[in-house]
């Protein structure tokens, strides 16, 4: 009767899902055959692949100098770069535990499950990078998205463990929770590579490697560019700056506020931090915060650093225009289309270059290297670059 309506609905939905799934799983995985596979996959050349913005997908890896760890970083003031040591240099000194032995039989036909952290244009581009490299190596990559929910991400990991793929790539949602997640996969004997977001140092023990952007390094670079611009624009004046923060929880919340702040405390100690707020990623709210700052600090405010170059940057820009304060130097984390356009138009002074496709590509490349039995360094960074009006054309069109 009508009561069956609901049941029918469920069935039809399941039917839909089935039809969708059929298309996906049509391709059989290639046979992996011993040494022949290994030789083939060692010869695969991925350096020629380009990402959407015309930049090579996999550039030279960034080298980073690792300083000595201070006695107790937490006891140092927040404006001291060393206070953030454990976050910035996570993974370099970790002693690996229970890492599975590489089969060293080539990458072709290997099954890789990539669990990202949610649906976002950046992560769509990330997925493109994953597929480009996986395609080159003829690996079978599945991308799952938990829609920004830690509990769902845990479930997806549990499900992946049951399916026993050859490799799991994880983009953590939360640095602390990631420790248990990585450990869980490690216990199940499945190799895991962590990507994009830094987990807590403890978690680095259990993964083969971490790959992704050097958020701290990027922002230190950006901070120097920013300080130089402000110093040349406002010679001899007092300079005050404010920060629009990322949403709390992950490492960007810290790296994109205290990263530049602590860098400036050494590079340009006379620049004063006025305030920092986390209004979320809504243009309207950011606009109000910035308007209020202008009211509150007046001419002291000379620079703003934002954790996002789209909604937040637009909110800032609107507020500055309204107040006639376009002299304020704005920098942001990049590099969305909106942000690139703003740099081109001169509304933003500089943004960081973080190639989403390369981010995904480097994780899968590392997996392939591991299947090939190569030595893997514990951390692989994406190259650091700062985009200003001078070089913005090189990075067009934007990846997302």
């Amino acid at each position: 009767m009508k009561k069956l309506f609901v049941l029918l609905l469920v069935l039809s939905i399941a039917g839909f899902a089935f039809a969708g799934g059929q298309q996906e799983s049509a391709e059989p995985a290639a046979e992996s055959g011993g040494s022949e596979n290994l030789e083939w996959s060692k010869q695969v050349d991925v350096t020629k692949i380009k990402s959407r913005d015309g930049q090579p997908l996999l550039l030279e890896m960034e080298q980073k100098e690792i300083p000595e760890r201070p006695e107790d970083p937490e006891s140092l003031p927040e404006t001291d770069p060393m206070h953030w040591y454990d976050m910035e240099y996570a993974g370099w000194s970790a002693e690996k535990v229970n890492i599975p032995e590489s089969p060293a039989d080539g990458a072709r036909g290997k099954e890789v499950v990539v669990i990202i952290n949610g649906d976002h244009p950046y992560l769509t581009a990330f997925g493109n990078g994953v597929q480009k490299v996986a395609g080159a190596y003829q690996m079978d990559a599945t991308i799952l998205s938990p829609n920004w929910d830690v509990a769902v991400q845990n479930q997806m990991l549990d499900e992946a463990i049951v399916d026993e793929p050859d490799m799991i790539v994880l983009v953590p949602l939360d640095a602390k929770v990631a420790v248990q997640q990585i450990r869980k996969v490690n216990q199940a004997g499945i190799p895991i590579i962590v990507s994009n977001m830094l987990p807590e140092d403890e978690g680095m023990k259990y993964c083969i490697a971490w790959t992704g952007p050097d958020d701290w390094g990027q922002f230190r670079m950006l901070a120097r560019e920013w300080a130089d611009e402000m110093k040349s624009n406002f010679e001899g004046e007092d300079i005050g700056v404010a920060y629009v923060q990322h949403a709390p929880g992950g490492s960007p919340y810290f790296a994109r506020c205290w990263g530049p702040m602590s860098e400036l405390s050494e590079y340009a100690p006379d620049i004063e931090t006025l305030d920092y707020q986390a209004p979320g990623f809504e243009a309207e709210k950011t606009m109000q915060v910035v308007s209020d700052w202008i009211t509150r600090f007046g001419d002291d405010l000379k620079g703003i650093c934002a954790a996002d170059d789209s909604a937040q940057a637009i909110g800032i820009q609107e507020a500055l225009q309204k107040a006639g304060r376009e002299d304020i130097v704005v920098v942001a984390a990049g590099n969305s289309k909106v942000g690139m356009d703003a740099v081109k138009a001169g509304d933003l002074h500089a943004i960081t270059y973080q190639s989403a496709e390369a981010d995904g590509a480097i994780a899968v490349k590392t997996a392939a290297d591991w299947f090939n039995g190569e030595e893997i360094e514990p951390v692989r960074y994406l190259p650091k670059k700062v985009i200003t009006a001078e070089n913005v054309e090189e990075f067009m069109p934007a990846q997302w």
């Binding site: 609901v6 799983s25 509990a151 769902v152 845990n154 499900e159 709390p248």
Partner: protein
Amino acid sequence: MPKLDSKQNAVYWIDRNRIYIIFLGVFLVMSIFAPNFVGLRNFTNILRSMSLNATVAIGFTLVLIIHQLDLSVGSTLSLGAVFTIGFRLMFSELPPGMAWTLGVVIALAAGSLIGLINGLLVAKAKIHSFIVTLGMMIIVQGVIYMYTDVSLSATTPADFALSDFMRMPFLDSIRLLTPRILIAILSVVGMEVLLKRTRFGRNFYMVGGNRDTAWLAGLKADTYTILAFVFAGFFAALGGSMVAIEMSSSPVDLGVNSLLIVVAATIIGGTSMMGGKGSVFKTMIAVLMLETLFNGMNRFNVGTEFKIFASGMILAGVVLYEAYYIYKHEQLKGQRAELLKELEDGRKT
């Protein structure tokens, strides 16, 4: 009262047990079509993913039964998780067992306190529960961020041992239940028995169904309202706390998506928004149904957007069906079916 014929009987039976039928349908379809779906380890996964929202939904269902609404359960469960780890770390000089116990107790107390404040504001200050709990949702989220803007974790070997204990099936013969799943199921069954088999529990239904009658029957309606909110806070915190132990860490926004799932499951499980009707057990089955659906869908590698769409369609279908049922019923109000039938029969002859 005319006797129901067998067809009507069947219809009522289906309606009463519709959640079981839907669940079985989903389960069968997934078993047949979804790759790698059938298997004890995967069933454990489904139960594991059910535990959190099923626990939180206990309180939410109860609040609906007394004809109120609690939007703050999502924030409260985050608070439960954060406080469990936070206070465990605060007492880290104590032996781990002790510290964990204190952490859980404080988290549960905090959850209950939030419920108590909600209840008092609703029952005594007479503010609408939609407003109270909406305000409380914002306040609690703010309090969490004030308490810590970074997620917390406990990483000593003892913590990992506890976490493994919570996560692994504890019976080697049936590798299905983990301690956390068991806690969730026991909470649900315990509450179901309390609500259906004791006078105290049945009073909640009476208060929710008709407050005036309940008052005439000598029940302190305010007390039951407050208690229901306290239960809601308690179980939300319990759900969060158990997840935190299993992860031995707690993100600051654990409950962002829970409210939607909990609301959907409660309604699909047959709890009435008009109060006085509902069952925490059926709510749990509804959560289980949704999780089975999601798990199966993951196996087809369909995107989040499809899962959102599917759960929305199911919820919309159930709401529409119920509304339509009542709409029809309304139209017949005041008409006596047997007289109509006689009239029709008379016409025919």
